[in-house]
Amino acid sequence: MPIVVVDNLRKSFGPLEVLKGVSLTVERGQVVALLGRSGSGKSTLLRCLNGLETIDSGRIEIAGHKMDYAPRPLRELRKDVGIVFQSFNLFPHLTAAENVMLAPRLAMKIARPAARQLAEEMLAKVGLADKLDAHPDQLSGGQQQRVAIARSLAMQPKVMLFDEVTSALDPELTGEVLNVMAALAADGMTMLLVTHEMGFARNVATTSVFMHGGLIHESGPPATMFAAPRTPEFQQFIGQSLK
């Protein structure tokens, strides 16, 4: 049974219809790379998947939850669906460990010592065992983004969403974040990620999805898709991306 089902999803901002009937299914353990030009609605789709945007019509089921915007069911859904943003969005007044502990303590009602231990584990997992008590402004961009990933992982989500998580980083820092994500994928985490890192999309993703004109224009295993694009739009897109 698929872990993510999106069926005929439509979403407009005012007069601008961004998603015009997107349908997508993702199986447990799949890594889906969302590709597409700027403004094609990739971020909007991810944000719809964890309820940060409300949808106009269609259906979303994710990690066993039907999308429901009432506060309580929405929180239950979000416990199982993590999201990492381009701009990290760490809480500046909390240390790395406190950032990671916050949601387990408040949303999962885990006691402080256990939450602290969980934070230590998660930060070790992203290679930051030595930065527990650092504040975000004492960390590099790559380190901040890894804390943000640890923060999401601490909720032990069933699905992780990543929205261009390396785009705000200097090139020499993207590697450390991509490595963490590759390790997660290898661990069997179900992931949907928007990325402009074509190498990562080709090598780590199990499926790539090309969005165009508010719809999924082309999708399939990256190896075949990149080797033999079926549509001229995708061909043009990879042509531009590889330049």
């Binding site: 506060p71 929180r75 993590g82 969005n89 809480f91 007044h93 408040l106």
Partner: protein
Amino acid sequence: MFGLHFGPVFARSDALVYGFWLTLQLSASAIVLGSLVGLSAAAVRNMGPRPLRWLVQTYVEIIRNTPFLVQLYIIFFGLPSLGFKINAIEAGILAMTINLGAYSTEIFRAGIESVHRSQIEAGQALALTRLQVFRHIVLVPAVARVWPSLVSQFILIMLTSSVCSFISVEELSGASYTIQSETFQSFEVYIVAGLVYLALALVLKMAFAALGMRLFSRRRIKPIALHLPEMQP
């Protein structure tokens, strides 16, 4: 050149000390209660239902655009005429609380609005409730950023406590008035009172700045420049 005589004034230093003590009590009560009012009102203003938001805004505008003295009169003379018994000190604390509450609402609101939407979304995405997001993600950066403005407002409300002498509260100004009517050393009394207020203002400023450092500097949030017109009620 004026031939100043401080002797008779210092002979009544007991009244001055008592007045100073009362000024401190009025100010401390108003600062604690007024901040709570302001913080709650700002939270309502930020995420409460629409009619309540409107109510908060009306409260703020009414208080900010009428003199503290008249607010004090309405409470001290008006409430008893409606059947609520209230003594002068209670009236003073109530008026100061309501007054500081309105000004600090605006300050807290500026702080809350300075917290970026993406911070709130990050909290929501972590399955926190609205209240948890406010309490754990918004509150500390919001207060830290407006702390300097808040401290200025605390000092202004301390100075404003002098107006409570109009309803014969024997705080520092009231005590000074009594002493000058007994000793006729009016100029000398007010020089002493002025110096005491000045010293208190400076000490409060330093104490609150130190408190701010303790509370927030470890938190590494920098204050923001607020374009709020400085006030005196």
